[in-house]
């Protein structure tokens, strides 16, 4: 059994919207093991993004415990969260969020410049199959390519965990599969713990475990002994 990297107990997150309190997470318990590929599925408002934001150090919980290894994520200061993101976390978002004025290579360099032992940007881009597009600007890349640059940017610092928020949400199936292959490849070859949140149930097939969220809790967990190959996934 690999060690636990993430664990949360009785995790609560309440937003105050106007005069109403919205409970996004309600007593959530969770363990994630090193090197796992996890897909979190659930309808809108189920708390997926909130969970991901807390795991990634973008947001803090209202109460309960959440830790990455020995880093307490609930009580951490802004500076500690920034250092945590910088040293351990790679993010991939639905809308890529590349810096438009930097080329693919430079977008990756942006991260390697502030990392301890980064990959060469060219290697990170090769990993996602973009060796031929190093000097292209985001506006010259397709959506799938932009998302792969975002993945290269996320992995170039050799993160311990890769957090992906609807990484194929803006892509068609064929392009989306290319992006999933890149994530799968990174997870297998580097052993990077990967968490993908999505509405797309089909993606669950490639995960070690699929967690179904509802009403701010994990309603059900499904384990796969065999992970599907991304190329075999269709939606």
């Amino acid at each position: 059994m690999p060690p636990i990297v993430f664990s949360s107990r009785n995790l609560n997150k309440t937003y105050r919207v106007g005069s109403v309190n919205v409970a996004a997470l309600q007593g959530l318990d969770l363990d994630i093991f090193e090197g796992e590929f996890i897909v979190i599925l659930g309808p809108s408002g189920s708390g997926k993004s909130t969970l991901l934001n807390i795991l990634g150090g973008l947001d803090s919980a209202s109460s309960g415990d959440a830790a990455w290894r020995d880093h307490n994520l609930v009580e951490a200061s802004d500076e500690e969260l920034t250092r945590y993101r910088r040293e351990h976390v790679g993010f991939v978002f639905q809308f890529y969020n590349l810096i438009p004025s930097l080329t693919a290579r430079e977008n990756v360099e942006l991260v390697t410049e502030i990392s301890e032992q980064p990959m060469r940007p060219e290697d990170a881009l090769a990993k996602v199959g973009l060796s031929a597009r190093l000097d292209h600007f985001p506006s010259q890349l397709s959506g799938g390519e932009q998302q792969r640059v975002a993945i290269a940017r996320a992995i170039a610092k050799r993160p311990d965990v890769l957090l992906c928020d609807e990484p194929t949400g803006a892509l068609d199936c064929r392009t989306g599969v290319g992006v999933l292959s890149a994530l799968d490849e990174v997870n297998r070859s580097f052993g990077t713990t990967t968490v993908v949140i999505t509405h797309n149930a089909a993606i669950g097939a490639m995960a070690d475990r699929v967690m179904y969220m509802a009403d701010g809790r994990i309603a059900r967990i499904e384990s796969h002994s065999e992970r599907a190959r991304p190329e075999d996934i269709r939606w």
Partner: protein, 783 residues
């Protein structure tokens, strides 16, 4: 209230900070526009009313002496409505406690009791009682400057006899709105006053019973003025007629016109620039604000809204523009009143009535609305052109090119982001740069006036007119008088001057001024060219002030006709030998010996330039006051102070107001430009924070571009300011003096510092936002 209107109010509240700063910038632009225009308009109206009510003369002439019967013949000249012959004498005045020599002009009617032309307005006390000879009325400005009032006494040296007068009233005269003493370029209320006395006193003292030596006329509207003046000259020629002229050569009127023209030019040039710059800012900011609502516009379109969207954003613009304009108009009217009130000591009219032309606020509102609505609707249209589905997707990443890649390959990412951000978005960068660039000229435009006035003082009073005092004689005297002046206490150096009144003619153009006989040996009165090198008057040619040569359309070598209005009243034609860089006044110069020859005189002197031992100046003044031959003593120190107090003070008053507003606008422009830049890049910045960049590192990336823009904008702004000021001064040349486009290094420094300071303060505000950025909500806003 419709849902859209509720959105409108909430959007306004959300953007209140920016909406208010934009409204304030706009209000500043409008306020300067309204106040300057209305203050100027009020002065013009007050002048017109005063001239009409006081029956200000249309034509003026002075002469040696003529019997009163000549006045009746003047009245017969076609077009002349009314004639008033007078006795006018320049005298030395004794004011108790005054250490400086004081001169005065005594005026009495040669016939009748009350002036019907140039009527006096009594400010305090009462009019003259014809039965009491030793009474006088004195101009209000002189009375104030010397702290005199009804009941006080002054003495006057009348033809060598000292006589005492009791002041019974202080008055204003349209003829002496500005009172300039003989031989002085500028008014000096402390040292020159006008005294109205009874005919008996003046006629008796100067043996002028039954004669007059000065005449003023009213002419019919539309009368042929040149013909009247020609007839007047012909009629008075045998009576020693000096100069028949219309209002344009009347000293007070000319000075007043110059001051008004300067006010008018200031009102017509600088405030519109302010208004246009704030309108430009409004246009840009509205466009950018609307553009940030791209998704909302698309959503509204998808819901079936169409022209309502444009109307919605037009309302949004109006919500910012209209309060700004209303505030601007209100502040402008209030400030206009304040300005007019501050003019009171300078413009001595009985009434200064506030007058605001209706078109000014209408024009300001129209320009502001046009700019604001234009910016808003332009942005709405560009979004509305997209299909809703397309507009709702996040915008495609803006395109960039690799043009800087070679240079930047080794540079840190933040410089790449900055360089490409600027280079590949010429419009966005251009707009921001322009916003930053316009700030510096605004500030320079306010600051440079002080520099210009300092420059005038330096050139005119330190390099050119180097005498501490100029002693003028009642009439030209033999050269030995120079040695008498040399022996007066405190005198270190003397130089003789011969100054004669002269009329210059070139074709149909003519100008009356003084002709100064100069010499290459002179140290105290040097003539300078544009490069400030000394020019020497040649033996056989004339030098003119550059603006005078331009006025007469003369070039070097052109012949100039001279009518000497003194001595034998000789005429001559002399070539123009060159021009002189006189900043104050329009004068003519020639070699002193040549002038003496022209005058058929043997080395006579009409004035002496003097260098004084400052510690003995009082003894010198006292001696000068006791010397009957001396008519006036002009003192450099006083001239400088007068210059600063008159023209200088009025100009600096306006300049101060402009500087205050320019600083407000500059800060507003810089802040809003950088603020919008921040808004447009918020997501990019949030992304950097998510990637693990610390707030400090993120700030370095964002501010690199700002630093580069500010570093580029400041020098560009200073250069733009330099040219703007040069352009401005062209409009500001008046006959009395010229404002040089001299900007001191310290003004450049202040303008640059202000822009940099505003940028720094704005950056600090944004830095705080950057530190407190809520990463999750930025991401949510996007996704």
């Amino acid at each position: 209230m419709t849902a859209l209107d509720r959105k409108l109010l909430r959007d306004w509240r959300r953007l209140a900070g920016q909406a208010i700063t934009i409204a304030l910038v706009l209000a500043s632009g409008v306020a300067v526009f309204i106040s300057s225009l209305s203050a100027y308009q009020s002065l013009v109206t007050s002048q017109r009313n005063y001239y009409r009510e006081s029956r200000f003369a249309d034509a003026f002439a002075s002469l040696k002496r003529a019997p009163l019967s000549v006045a009746a013949r003047i009245a017969e000249i076609p077009g002349v409505i009314q004639v008033e012959p007078r006795l006018v004498q320049d005298v030395t005045i004794g004011v108790e406690g005054a250490s400086l020599p004081v001169s005065g002009r005594m005026i009495a009617l040669a016939a009748g009791d009350e002036p019907q032309i140039n009527r006096l307005h009594i400010v305090s006390g009462r009019g003259l009682d014809p039965a009491i000879p030793a009474e006088t009325l004195v101009t209000q400005a002189f009375a104030e400057a010397n702290r005199l009032g009804p009941g006080d006494r002054v003495s006057a040296l009348l033809n060598g006899r000292r006589q005492s007068f009791r002041i019974v009233g202080t008055v204003l005269s349209p003829e002496y709105v500005f009172s300039t003493g003989p031989g002085e370029p500028l008014p000096d209320d402390k040292r020159f006053g006008v005294f109205y006395v009874s005919r008996e006193v003046l006629a008796h003292a100067f043996a002028m019973e039954g004669v007059f030596n000065d005449v003023v006329l009213l002419v019919a509207p539309g009368a042929n003025m040149p013909a009247i003046l020609a007839s007047l000259d012909a009629l008075l020629d045998r009576w020693g007629g000096m100069l028949a002229h219309d209002r344009s050569l009347q000293l007070s009127h000319r000075f007043l016109q110059d001051e008004l023209r300067q006010q008018g030019t200031m009102a017509a040039t600088i405030p519109p620039i302010f208004l246009l710059i704030s309108a430009f800012l409004l246009h840009v900011v509205m466009g950018r604000l609307v553009a940030t609502q791209r998704e909302q516009i698309a959503a509204l379109k998808a819901l079936g809204y169409d022209h309502e969207i444009t109307l919605h954003f037009a309302k949004f613009a109006a919500l910012i523009v209209l309060p700004g304009v209303a505030l601007g108009v209100a502040a402008g009217v209030a400030l206009g009143h304040v300005m007019l009130f501050s003019y009171r000591p300078f413009f001595r009219f009985p009434e200064l009535d506030y007058d605001l032309a209706a078109w000014a606020p209408i024009a300001a509102t129209a320009i502001a609305l046009f700019a604001g609505l234009g910016g808003a609707t332009g942005a709405v249209r560009s979004v509305a052109r997209l299909r809703p589905a397309e507009a709702m997707r996040p915008a495609t990443p803006p395109a960039y090119t690799a043009r800087f890649s070679a240079i930047l390959s080794q540079a840190p990412s933040r410089w790449k982001i900055a360089a490409r951000g600027a280079g590949d978005h010429p419009l966005r960068t251009g707009v921001t740069l322009l916003g930053l660039v316009v700030a510096a000229p605004l500030v320079l435009m306010g600051l440079f006036w002080t520099d210009a006035l300092d420059y005038v003082v330096d050139v005119q009073f330190a390099a050119s007119e180097r005498a501490d005092a100029v002693v003028q004689f009642v009439e030209p005297l033999p050269a030995r008088v120079v040695q008498e002046v040399r022996r007066m206490p405190g005198v270190l150096l003397v130089e003789p001057l011969r100054i004669a009144p002269v009329r210059l003619r070139s074709g149909h153009l003519e100008y009356q001024t003084s002709l100064t006989g100069s010499s290459d040996r002179l140290q105290l009165r040097r003539l300078l060219d544009d490069a400030l090198d000394v020019v020497v008057a040649p033996k056989d040619g004339l030098l003119l002030s550059r603006r005078l040569a331009e006025r007469l359309r003369l070039r070097t070598g052109d012949p100039v006709e001279l009518d000497i209005l003194d001595g034998h009243r000789n005429r001559a034609v002399v070539p123009l030998a060159g021009v002189v860089n006189d900043l104050i006044g329009l004068s003519a110069y020639m070699d002193r010996e040549s002038l003496n020859r022209l005058l058929q005189e043997d080395q006579t002197v009409s004035a002496v330039a003097v260098r004084l031992d400052a510690s003995k100046a009082d003894a010198f003044y006292a001696a000068a006051k006791q010397t009957p031959k001396i008519s006036t003593v002009s003192l450099k120190e006083r001239s400088i102070r007068n210059f600063r107090d008159s023209t200088g003070a009025v100009v600096l008053l306006l300049a101060g107001i402009y500087t205050a507003f320019s600083i407000t606008i500059a800060i507003g422009v810089v802040y809003n430009n950088l603020r919008i830049g921040f808004q447009e890049r918020a997501l990019e910045l949030a992304m950097l924070r998510i990637l693990g960049f610390t707030p400090y590192e993120t700030a370095r990336i964002f501010f690199s571009e700002i630093v580069a823009e500010v570093c580029l904008a400041i020098p560009l702004g200073l250069v733009a300011g330099y040219f703007l000021v040069r352009l401005l001064v062209l409009a500001f040349q008046t006959e009395t003096f010229e404002i040089p486009a001299a900007i001191a290094p310290r003004s450049y420094f202040w303008a640059a510092s202000l822009v940099a300071g505003a940028a720094f303060a704005s950056a600090a505000v944004m830095g705080r936002k950057l530190w407190r950025m809520d990463l999750v909500s930025v991401l949510k806003g996007r996704e």
